[in-house]
Amino acid sequence: MSLVLISHSRAIGEGLRDMVAQVAGPDVRVAVAAGTEDGRLGTSAPLITEAIRWALADGPAGPVEGALVLLDLGSAALSLDLALEELSDAERARTRVSEAPLVEGAVLAAVQASVGASLDDAFAAAADAASMTKIPRN
């Protein structure tokens, strides 16, 4: 499976892709749809559609099971809805959208993907991000 990172900021999207590659390794495919076509802050339905299609495309190792989509702020969901409408039923069926926080969800899902996890397992790993401790209470 592969990841699709949606952010309002191109810098956040590209920076997170670098971070994911360093933590999870280079074998996890990560598509980014971040910022608008002209580089401003915002999200773009066509860029998201393109990113999901690229994430779902067959790779050197064969077919991809599906794509896990993560987003930074809820307003990106408006563009995402438009993007999902452009996909075929078959493409949509292989696309899962996560409620997880973007950075934590991407890293957790990518590490699971790097060990061959299924789309559902990666979705569950990303969901763990919501309850993950950051600041130890001891």
């Binding site: 933590v23 390794g25 590490v111 790097s114 060990v115 763990d128 130890p136």
Partner: protein
């Protein structure tokens, strides 16, 4: 359940990249593998669990494995973590 005790020697603690390498290495084994620290326990195959332990320098951890490849798993994980931890007790049968 065979186990090893290790001490975090990286002066900055156990960070995301080594933690991810550890999860990747643990995932190659069929055994159930856990990391224990100060009464807390995390699944070694889960990055959220491992990062949630927030392992600081000089922290002692126990890695325990249960399953058909438990001994191999512990040996491999000790190797994987070797830049960041040192062995506190290697002999699984040693009295506590």
């Amino acid at each position: 359940m065979p186990e090893i005790r290790l001490v975090v020697i990286d002066p900055t603690g156990l960070h995301a990249r080594p933690a991810a390498r550890f999860v990747q290495a643990a995932s190659r084994f069929a055994s159930r593998i856990v990391i224990r620290q100060a009464g807390r326990e995390a699944d070694a195959k889960s990055l959220s669990g491992l990062l949630g332990l927030t392992l600081r320098p000089a922290t002692e951890i126990t890695v325990a494995a249960e399953g058909p490849d438990a001994a191999d798993a512990l040996a491999a994980l000790t190797r994987e973590l070797s830049p960041y931890v040192s062995a506190a007790v290697v002999d699984a049968e040693a009295p506590a």
